[in-house]
Symmetry: none
Subunit: 229 residues, 4 copies
DNA sequence: AATGAATGAGCGTTCATTCAT
DNA sequence: TATGAATGAACGCTCATTCAT
């Protein structure tokens, strides 16, 4: 995933379609992805997509009943691609759980330094604000990504109950996403990515190792907690 | 700021205008903000803004020479409002630096649970991607917010050199922003915000207290570091 | 007239108006004329006129009930100015009628080489195509200019009946106007103006001197006539 | 050409289009020409053109990428039409050069008495004032028309040097244009066209026959010349 | 006498979509 | 499959005009 490009877009097979039809479908979706990356969601007009893939606007209607349908298929393809990358990379073997956790962080940060990720994710976030379909798909993607973190937390800190484990995974995932936004590809702070990565690994490992069951549960005044650490 | 709403938008005074003109200006910018929050940046068309505030499109052009100018004034007003809130809240006195840091985290997370923040910030991020003006203003706002974190880090861990302090402030700020995205207002995980807040406070305080000068500098394999924690 | 500028615009006195009112009126009309000369009839919008004279668009409505009224007053002022110039210069004394006719031609050609004339007249012609008011005023102006030519023709060739005299005056006037269009100020052929002037004088004088009564009347095949000359 | 109408507009073939597309193109340009003739250049708005030819404004944009492009194609079509007419009529054989010159004058004056010419040319002149593209195309058209006059002058008065011949052709062309403006179709003086035509033929033939080489060159006081005729 | 504020109509243009070919 | 042609709605913006201040 750290070098995901337009070429890697995973596009659904066309039901009962001929080879030619599948080709057209892929050309259209890859053109749309290129535009999304290079010029943002506002560039996703039927005409521009058509121009980008050498077809005419009218022809796109043959493949997609509406623009909305096109966008949803594009979103599916994008998310499938990222999820595929997640699967591959999370399976990377590592000596200890700590090392494997560190490796996941490294991978996420490398990905954030990628043009495709740095451009696509903010667009997805903005879209998901007002399009429930996008919101659900994006949420689903992240949930799937958190599974790996969850497993690692369970290995490192088996005493932690499942819901607290999930909250912790969410914290780490969200934290890394935030760092990606601020210090990703072409961001002014992107030079600080290695240092941020070390901070992330250090603090994540510490909290995973030291979090006590019940420590983050409700009823405790958050303002008081810190001193206890 | 944690309950910032459209009503709180800080709008510049109109020079030499009548009362009616000032009202018009405020109606327009508040209508634009409402649309941004409720329907996203793509809803910011002159006609929709006009309809939202009960004016006609031509009259909007009387107040703003171009749509771009309107958007920039809106952005200024939004950011001024947030910065004003920052100032107020950061000045809240606290017993110890740890407590004040915890309070900042609490504040940020409360704000993330606000509809306005949860809706506005993702839009700003998406706009930033293709509008340098937006990017600069947003970046400037966050930089200003990091100053407070910086000061707190310096109090807690005076040995840390300035650049590492800044990187750490960036990490915390970005981390909180990410959590806000995932667990903010109307997000499925928003119920977990209190727990996430405790994790954030715990891990931030730990890393601020324990980070050694040079520890995050280049030359160290990030994959090896974690074990040291 | 050969050095007519915006400053020379003759503006009607404002009935019962105060000094200040007269000033405003003149500022507006001179601004309009400047725009007409510099940027053409399409630049004559209320806003641009207002901006040109330092007023606001709303204020122009105080002086002129409508844009049409403004344009008609502008047209009156322009035509009065040109007619005034006609009067002055046609009265220039000359030794012989031939010399006076030559002097008129010289004057007309000098005027054609003027920025104001070269810019204003084509606009007037275009306007007059679809605005009867403009057409009538322009026609009236030229008719008045032809009176002088008429008198000169009567002096040189007294045998010519009045209607043929008028036709001849019309021919000369129209001919000069055409040359002005092709070789006037900033036209590619404007360097040829002196030579064109000599051709005009030579041919006009010849035809005025030699035209026989009835020679141009109907009933004669125009295709046959030439050989008789 | 003397009876050039909208129907005769020469419109370029549409490449690779359907029959329907060619029809659409012609409907649009003819509608535009009709508006230019009937209501002037200011009537050439996309919506009015669309209404005139029974299409919708959006469809005009399908044929022409911009209004400017439409206007340029219209101008090309108009000028091609006039030039085509020029070619046809100038080739008309005539007994003597004098007769052929007279015939050209007759033709030009007949054309001036045409609604299309009387309306189109003033608009073209006005457009020329602020649109270099129009200026160049119009100038080119007239230059092409002058070639015929040039050839006739060379036949009648071979001693005249080329540049003086060209100046003389310009004078005649401009003179006729001016007469067309004053006495063309629907002008109050249009009844006098036959008489003006005879004057033109008489005076043109005289000056072409009698002009001496060098006579119109610089150095001679124009005010003195006339007496010599 | 002048400005500020507002309107309704229209501008050139782009958009997603439909449908015949 | 693919294009050409057409539509209706909306876009940002300018216009002349009106009216309260």
């Amino acid at each position: 995933m750290s070098d995901f490009t337009v070429q890697d877009l995973k596009i659904r097979a066309r039901e009962g379609g001929y080879v030619r039809g599948q080709e057209g479908l892929e050309r259209i979706l890859k053109a749309a992805l290129t535009l999304l990356i290079e010029h943002g969601a506002s560039a996703l007009t039927m005409r521009r997509i058509a121009a980008e893939c050498g077809l005419k606007a009218g022809n796109i209607a043959y493949y997609f009943a509406s623009k909305e349908e096109l966008l949803r298929e594009l979103l599916d393809a994008i998310i499938n691609s990222f999820e595929g990358a997640f699967d591959t990379i999370y399976q990377t073997p590592g000596a200890t759980p700590d090392e494997r956790l560190a490796r996941v962080v490294t991978f996420i940060f490398e990905d954030a330094n990628t043009k495709a990720s740095a451009r696509i994710f903010p667009e997805l976030w903005a879209m998901s604000n007002h399009d429930p379909f996008v919101r659900d798909r994006v949420e689903e993607m992240y949930a799937r990504g958190r599974v790996v973190l969850n497993d690692l937390i369970a290995e490192i800190n088996p005493a932690l109950p499942a819901d607290e484990r999930e909250t912790l995974a969410l914290f780490m995932s969200a934290s890394m996403e935030g760092v990606g936004f601020f210090a990703g590809y072409e961001r002014p702070a992107s030079a600080k990515l290695p240092a941020l990565e070390r901070i992330a690994i250090k603090s994540f490992l510490h909290v995973v190792h030291t979090l006590q069951p019940g420590e983050i549960s409700a009823g405790l005044k958050p303002g008081k907690r810190p001193r206890a650490t």
